[in-house]
């Protein structure tokens, strides 16, 4: 009897595994079709989307070459802008919001409270609410270059980061900092050599969320940056496809493939942190 139920249970599990495997294959098909089509001549992408490249439709690396040299600035240029903006914005956000969060959690003055509640409030404000005025303000203050746009990201992205850091700082016992103070540490030493290292888990979560946001963001950079001079990868792809009557789908797919390869490598390398970080950020809504 027991043997029977056990084998029934085993069968059930096998069926579930098979079902999940099928869903899994369907799940990776879109990415797989990007790979396929990036090696096809443009005219075949629409008609033979799901077929393997044949001798007739195979394009070799020509789509990649075309995609990477398209427009006034080559792709590598856009890649560097994207990397720079993402890395600097994330670093600024982690450094400055964690400092502010520590101050808010420990000093608790009226000003701190106002800033904190404004941050929480900013999390429910959709970007469309501020996009016009924000882009005009950024223009006026000359924040419209890749070198200065991280300041805009720090401002608009502060809300979630402050919220997450304050929550974490409040869970750290005050005694540790008191001990540091007794040993003669001023606030700056206390923060950087005692508190900062303890914030690591939240820093990773915040960092992951900000990287994913900034790297993929389209609307903020397109409105803030001077797009005749500077484009990030999402802007490049949008304009590659958006502005021309006839679109080279093969080249577009090659560029899309190039732009998601770093993302997938990043994902596979830090998967554990990414999933944890995203789950931690789910409070945002």
């Amino acid at each position: 009897m027991k043997q029977n139920t056990l084998s029934a249970e085993k069968r059930r599990k096998t069926i579930m595994s098979v079902v999940l495997t099928i869903i899994c294959i369907i799940y990776v098909l879109p990415v797989f079709s990007v790979v396929l089509n990036s090696f096809k001549l443009n005219t075949f992408v629409k008609t033979e989307t799901f077929a393997l490249p044949t001798e007739e439709s195979f394009a070799g690396w020509s789509n990649f070459v075309k995609g990477m040299t398209f427009g006034n600035y080559p792709f590598i240029n856009r890649l560097l802008y994207s990397v720079f903006i993402t890395v600097v914005s994330t670093a600024l956000i982690i450094l400055f919001t964690s400092m502010a969060a520590w101050y808010i959690a420990r000093v608790d003055s009226t000003f701190c409270r106002i800033i904190y509640y404004l941050c929480v409030f900013s999390m429910v404000v959709p970007f469309q609410m501020v996009m016009y005025t924000l882009s005009k303000t950024a223009d006026k203050l000359h924040l419209n270059t890749p070198w200065t746009i991280p300041i805009v990201y720090l401002g608009f992205g502060a809300g979630l980061a402050i919220f997450m850091f304050v929550g974490f700082v409040k869970s750290i016992p005050l005694e540790i900092e008191e001990a540091a103070a007794i040993d003669g540490c001023g606030p700056i030493r206390t923060y950087f050599s005692v508190v900062f290292p303890m914030l690591r888990p939240t820093m990773i979560s915040v960092g992951i969320l900000e990287i994913m946001w900034v790297w993929n963001d389209y609307l903020l950079p397109v409105l803030v940056l001077d797009i005749n001079k500077y484009r990030t990868i999402p802007i490049h792809i949008q304009y590659l496809k958006g502005s021309y009557g006839t679109v080279d789908l093969g080249a577009t797919m090659a560029l899309i493939l190039l732009s998601i390869i770093p993302v997938i490598i990043f994902y596979l390398a830090c998967q554990k942190y990414i999933i944890k970080g995203v789950a931690a950020g789910a409070v945002k809504g």
Binding site: K13, L20, T21, C24, Y27, P30, S33, V45, K46, T47, F96, T97, M99, A100, Y103, R106, F111, I115, L118, C119, S122, V124, V125, P126, Q128, M129, V130, M131, Y132, T133, L134, T137, A138, L154, G155, G157, A158, I162, E178, G186, P187, M212, N216, Y218, L219, P234, Q238, T252, M253, I256, S259, I260, V263, I264, Y267, L268, I275, V278, A282, G285
Partner: protein, 301 residues
């Protein structure tokens, strides 16, 4: 002793306050530039007529009346609402099912989890173009395109968003499911409950907090969708109304606001800003509703 501790704390605080400019300064300045000032200015400008901010004239509620009377805006609201509700149901049912299967101790669960979550990392613009290639690859065999019929556009967006967000919601559900107390499930098993009974009477009531989070997340995400909408359909197909205005049939709220700001046909920034304020009220309202729900649940527990 107590008094001394208090005094110590006070001097600690005082020493921190001397450095407030360093700790608070950068964030406060950036936050003022990146959020506070644009927000206040945005509210003010929604009551103004303007082409440039410098020559804004106060006109009261005129922009709001125009916004609410705009057929394309009303259409985009209903389109977004329908989209948000349909995507909410589909995403949550599928995400919960997958999460449930993945917490049954199957072999390879980690690989499945990795694959299902992956689309989340791809940006909206890129996702839109990947799926536009796929849908047109299928539809071209029937002599049509995703841009030609609003129905295709709607379901195309649903499929895209489901593909992107099921993995995300799945992660939240898995965390919820793993927190269901093992002894409760054990007790149900001993009492002879079937799998289905256990699921509906024990597991689901225990993951209600996750269900609340995911429901509201997918609802607000549905309303806020922009990049995917722009890349996949850009609002096509268009209909010319009898009064000469254009209604873009698959245009959602965020895209409608964007087009009102930056569209080529007589851009009207004041009306667009009023629409943006209404959009903000809608999204913030959903946020408050969620807070209410979560609080209520906490009280009950």
């Amino acid at each position: 002793m107590k008094k001394k501790e208090y005094a110590g704390n006070k001097s600690l605080r005082a020493s921190k306050r001397r450095w407030s400019w360093l700790f608070m300064g950068p964030v406060t300045a950036a936050f003022a530039i990146g959020f506070v000032w644009p927000f206040i200015q945005g509210i003010y400008l929604s009551f103004c007529k303007f082409k440039l901010i410098s020559d804004a004239k106060f006109i009261g509620f005129g922009n709001y009346i125009k916004a609410l009377g705009d057929q394309s805006f009303r259409h985009s609201f209903w389109f977004s609402a329908l989209f948000a509700i349909v995507s909410l149901v589909i995403i949550n049912i599928l995400a919960f099912t997958v999460a449930y299967l993945l917490t049954q101790g199957l072999k390879g669960s980690n690989i499945f989890r990795t694959v299902f979550f992956m689309p989340n990392l791809i940006g909206g613009i890129v996702l839109g173009y990947i799926w536009s290639m796929i849908f047109d690859g299928i539809l071209s065999h029937f002599g049509t395109s995703i841009l030609l019929d609003a129905k295709y556009g709607f379901w195309g967006l649903i499929i895209l968003i489901a593909w992107q967000q099921i993995g995300y919601m799945m992660i939240i559900y898995i965390a919820g499911l793993q927190a269901v107390p093992e002894d409760m499930l054990e007790a149900a098993r001993i009492d002879g409950a079937t799998k289905m009974q256990t699921l509906f009477k024990v597991t689901i009531p225990n993951v209600m907090p996750s269900i609340t989070i995911c429901t509201f997340l997918s609802l607000t995400n549905g309303f806020k969708l922009f990049d995917q909408n722009l890349a996949l359909t850009a609002g096509q197909p268009f209909t010319i109304m009898p009064d000469g205005s254009t209604v873009k049939q698959t245009e959602m709220l965020a895209l409608n606001i964007y087009n009102t700001f930056y569209g080529q046909s007589g851009a009207s920034q004041g009306v667009a800003q009023a629409k943006a304020v209404l959009f903000f009220i809608l999204v913030a309202g959903l946020g408050l509703l969620q807070l209410g729900f979560t609080r209520q649940k906490e009280v009950q527990q």
